[in-house]
């Protein structure tokens, strides 16, 4: 009886969280939890707030690192809790870290496409980092959709990039194994156009529902049962609640970039180096910076096989895939990843600091 009432309590809390999110517009309010690592906003323009996290310790690295997170959720997942924070880890390793904190698009931002995000927002942020740090070439780490943006930026503005790291990049859209890939393929060009025609931007509730539809049993029941079963583990419930908060932090996707992403996925144009942004074609062969492509082997959101071809498509002499047995978000929040994966990433970066 106790098990049932406790699971019901977790379930009720989750239901209230979802209702609140639908009512308040998910992550639009940018009502993030208290950050683990102190930061300050050093630059703001377009839909970017650029956060700066100062390096700690005596051994500080010269090349600053820019983190680019996905557009559809809030980036606080990268700085979740002490001991479970990618940003904290990097700062403790002596890296000057900058994070692009995307400002959710409003109705009047529906014109924003790859050109606005890559050639304006990211380009302006890199320029601000160059001035702030006094270093001309910086390292860029992109996560999921952010990795796609980082890749596009590096192909178009390679002179500014010292090292490129991509985490769980959904590159090859021709791979169709996972449910998410089939569900995405079910959306036609006309459906995407209708969404933009009706709503202007792709609404946050729609993005949330899309991901929840993929695992209905998990989101309706199993995760709450899991929370009950693991509730005796120290800190688990707190972590579960933070993670749930992040799961409900979806933000809308600007209309134009939603259409462009949809078309890119159908044509697989980035993979084929045929994607056009502004007046330029994104040719991946123009990337010469050292590349580390991190792949979560248990990722059920981004198919590992979709990320794997990247090193073969760029011209960098120093490039490789780094496989790690983790899921899509496990790469950022699991204590195992922070103990074993991130030290490998920071070592790779430190070795390429000069």
């Amino acid at each position: 009886m106790s098990a049932i009432s406790e699971v019901a309590s977790f379930w009720m809390e989750g239901a209230m969280r979802t209702i609140d999110a639908f009512r308040n517009g998910f992550g639009i309010t940018m009502d993030d939890p208290e950050p683990t690592t102190p930061s300050r906003v050093i630059y703001e323009s377009g839909l970017v707030k650029l956060r700066y996290y100062e390096a700690r310790g005596t051994e500080r690295h010269r090349v600053p690192l820019l983190l680019i997170y996905s557009l559809i959720k809030r980036p606080f997942i990268l700085d979740l809790q002490p001991g479970r924070s990618v940003v904290e880890h990097l700062v403790n390793q002596g890296f000057e870290v900058y994070l692009i904190d995307w400002i959710p698009p409003k109705a009047e931002d529906k014109w924003r496409g790859f050109d606005a995000y890559v050639n304006q927002d990211i380009a302006n942020s890199v320029r601000a980092i160059q001035i702030h740090s006094g270093v001309e070439q910086i390292s860029i780490l992109g996560y999921c959709f952010g990795a796609l943006l980082a890749l596009m930026y590096t192909a178009l503005h390679g002179n500014s990039v010292k090292n490129l790291l991509s985490l769980t990049i959904p590159l090859d859209a021709s791979v169709r194994d996972l449910p998410i890939e089939h569900l995405s393929a079910a959306m036609t060009a006309r459906s995407a156009e209708l969404i933009v025609e009706i709503y202007g931007n792709a609404p946050a509730w729609m993005i949330y529902s899309f991901f929840n539809t993929l695992a209905p049993t998990h989101h309706m029941l199993d995760k709450f049962v899991g929370a009950y079963r693991s509730s005796s583990r120290p800190g688990y419930v707190e972590m579960f609640r933070l993670f749930e908060r992040w799961l409900h932090s979806d933000v809308p996707m600007a209309g134009k970039i939603f259409l462009e992403t949809s078309a890119m996925s159908r044509d697989n144009s980035l993979m084929k180096s045929e994607l056009k942004i502004g007046n330029s074609v994104v040719n991946l062969k123009q990337i010469v910076a050292p590349l580390l492509n991190v792949i979560g082997d248990r990722d059920d959101i981004v198919n590992p096989r979709s990320s794997m071809p990247l090193p073969g498509l760029v011209s960098s002499a120093d490039k490789r895939n780094l496989h790690y047995p983790t899921g899509h978000m496990g790469a950022a929040v699991s204590s195992d990843s922070l103990k074993r994966l991130w030290p490998q990433i920071s070592t790779w970066l430190a070795e390429r600091d000069n």
Partner: protein, 207 residues
């Protein structure tokens, strides 16, 4: 080198997939078998003997374990079924068609509701959506003016003002951004930064 790594990675991937409950690689029959094992872990006669022999607390623990195993199997079965549905081509096509139909219906509803309320609001003396949007745009413009004024006031020492201008100049007039077109004429807004050690690097700006 890359090819070799990829082949190795494929092997690792297959191992990882077999351990991943969400990968969709477990079969329906595997899950049914697991469920059957949970529901009937031992032969009925042996089970009766076991219940008689064991203490009450012990049997409760074992019952709880069996219940959790059964739960896991049911959940696993549901996951396999859902994954199977999404990866089925016919279901995918039906889903695509239904999304399209729902969106068309939504657009029709919006058009009808828009026409109805556009006629209704002026009749009862309320502003239309366009008028509200116009007011919002005006307020936004005022906010931006206010923000610029606040920044101006906050960066009134010579050093910060000079730096702010350097960033504006660099971003708006830099070589890389010169051909962006009219939509990109966003003036950089500098929201902080008063550390004097960065003064000397202004001249090195650029790619």
């Amino acid at each position: 080198m890359i090819h070799g790594e990829t082949v190795m990675a494929n092997k690792k991937l297959d191992e990882a997939r077999s351990a991943n409950p969400n990968s969709g690689d477990t079969s329906f029959s595997d899950e049914i078998l697991k469920l059957a094992q949970c529901l009937m872990p031992v032969a009925p006669t042996a089970k009766v003997k076991q219940v008689i022999d064991n203490a009450k607390a012990e049997s409760e623990t074992s019952l709880s374990e069996v219940a959790w195993k059964a739960y896991d199997s049911v959940v696993g079965l549901t996951k396999v079924t859902t994954n199977g549905l999404f990866t089925n081509e016919t279901v995918g096509k039906a889903l695509g068609t239904s999304i399209d139909m729902m969106l068309r219906w939504q657009r029709f509803n919006n058009a009808v509701a828009g026409a109805w309320f556009n006629a209704l609001w002026p009749a009862v003396g309320l502003p239309t959506g366009t008028e509200v949007a116009q007011v919002r745009a005006d307020i936004r413009g005022l906010r931006e003016e206010l923000r610029a004024a606040v920044i101006e006031a906050e960066t009134n020492d010579d050093y910060a003002r000079e730096l702010h201008e350097a960033v504006r100049h660099s971003i708006v007039n830099g070589n890389e951004v010169a051909d962006r077109g009219p939509s990109s004429q966003q003036v950089a807004v500098w929201t902080g930064w008063t550390d004097p050690q960065h003064t000397e690097i202004i001249a090195n700006v650029g790619n």
